[in-house]
Point group: C2
Amino acid sequence: MSFDKLIDRIKETKNPTVAGLDPAFSYVPEYIKAKYAHIADPLEAAAKAVLEFNCGLIDALCDIVPAVKPQAAYYEMYGWYGMKTFAETISYAQKKGMYVIADGKRNDIGSTMEAYATAHLGQIELYGKKVAPFGADALTVNGYLGTDGIKPLLAPCAEFDKGIFVLVKTSNPSSGELQDRKLYNKKGSPSGNVYEVMGAMCESWGEAVPGSKYGYSGVGAVVGATYPEQLAELRGKLPHTFFLVPGYGAQGGGGKGVAGAFDENGLGAIVNASRSIICAYKKEGCDEKEYAAAARREAIRMRDDICSYINLK
Amino acid sequence: MSFDKLIDRIKETKNPTVAGLDPAFSYVPEYIKAKYAHIADPLEAAAKAVLEFNCGLIDALCDIVPAVKPQAAYYEMYGWYGMKTFAETISYAQKKGMYVIADGKRNDIGSTMEAYATAHLGQIELYGKKVAPFGADALTVNGYLGTDGIKPLLAPCAEFDKGIFVLVKTSNPSSGELQDRKLYNKKGSPSGNVYEVMGAMCESWGEAVPGSKYGYSGVGAVVGATYPEQLAELRGKLPHTFFLVPGYGAQGGGGKGVAGAFDENGLGAIVNASRSIICAYKKEGCDEKEYAAAARREAIRMRDDICSYINLK
């Protein structure tokens, strides 16, 4: 009911990073695309090529990287065939021992949010059988709608031992337009800003799904690597909230910048890189058939970069 | 590149409402479920039953209701088979002349948000062919990430004549936890609250996709029927922003309460009801085989209720 399972895996691999599986079609090597060119429906062909691409990456990363984070947009982009690949990618990664964070940033209220929880983390009973529609281990969510949008996730998190990551301070340049805006409290006095309020709500929501081993609840926060000061500030203020940190690599954050996200044991955060890992073969300029090996090399480089700044044992 | 197409259809049908297609499995009549019970995979069986349910509703509503709003969660809940039903529902409704609002509340940044735009509103080129993965007419989105999360949608809206609805003030009880919080401006003076800032951003984003017939841009706002005062206040402050108004019916808002969302011509808003329409047969207590006729009766009742308070010609 918390992130204990993820943290166990981070400790086993001595690696607090997650590989983002964001398969834009231009990232897929040509030799893989060519295998499916005979299929009449281009969405079906592309979705199959993406699945092969992903499985190659997972095979190359599963013993050294604790988790993958498939980003839903890059699967919806291939229509329902893409969502089949999304489901098959999750299942394949889990079979290989990886923790899977479905990056969907889902948000809604009441019974609709329950439906998202069922879809991505839970099970649905249909025709007398219980099935897990997508069955990820964790889901990213957007808390703009308040507690009504988060509460429906907490029972499935507890029942199926899953977690959620709520957007708090995102990695993009314009994230401050709303998230950094200063607020009043109910008495009319200044009371921090929007992302701090959201962070405090994460701590509060997390009380329903406490961790038993490391002190981190099942309600985590997304905090961008591109804002190192806020990362360190939030780490101090949110002692039970595990962080998912995007923005390392292609977006500009480095190992030193993310160090503030971690606690004194080198835990408390997992850092994501997507493009820099899955497109490492393009940056290296190696043969495209070596794409998976290149991804592994970049994942090791990233792990060593981050671990040189933290105290993970 | 705006909501002109939707407004044309509202004027043709003299009906500013949209039917939410949120097919929880318990809403589907037993006689439809039974037809698919022989299918081995319960997700496939359920998704096929949902499609038949939806098509029956669309057939019964298409000449009197201008639009449908399938809610993505209720399709993802049936796994990728559900997303196939989502795509087929969109396509069927459009063939019947209805405007389709995909209710996904999607949100992300940069190229990931572009992928969502492609998935739901745009086209993707694969293997030399251009295809529309889901092809809705409009998409609901969450603006918590700021301009980086909205800008990628504006070009596809312009190119393919689509629209978006940004969450501004949602219909749920806890929406105020964040959305009603008071803000400072850059000079340190009080400057309204979170939902007002989001509303003002909608006006600003809409300048890139202006309307040519009715003055409403392609960037709309979601404003809940459960907060009548804010509806009227926002209608006054956001003259170019078309409203999607959830919360009528099952959530408690009525015709009088939503009247403030409309302009002096009875335009400027479309009011959604989901459960009260698609489950009307349960409330009526009629034979479940009459579910579509009952939905039509409720849709007419709702239309007449709302139109009795506004000036739509």
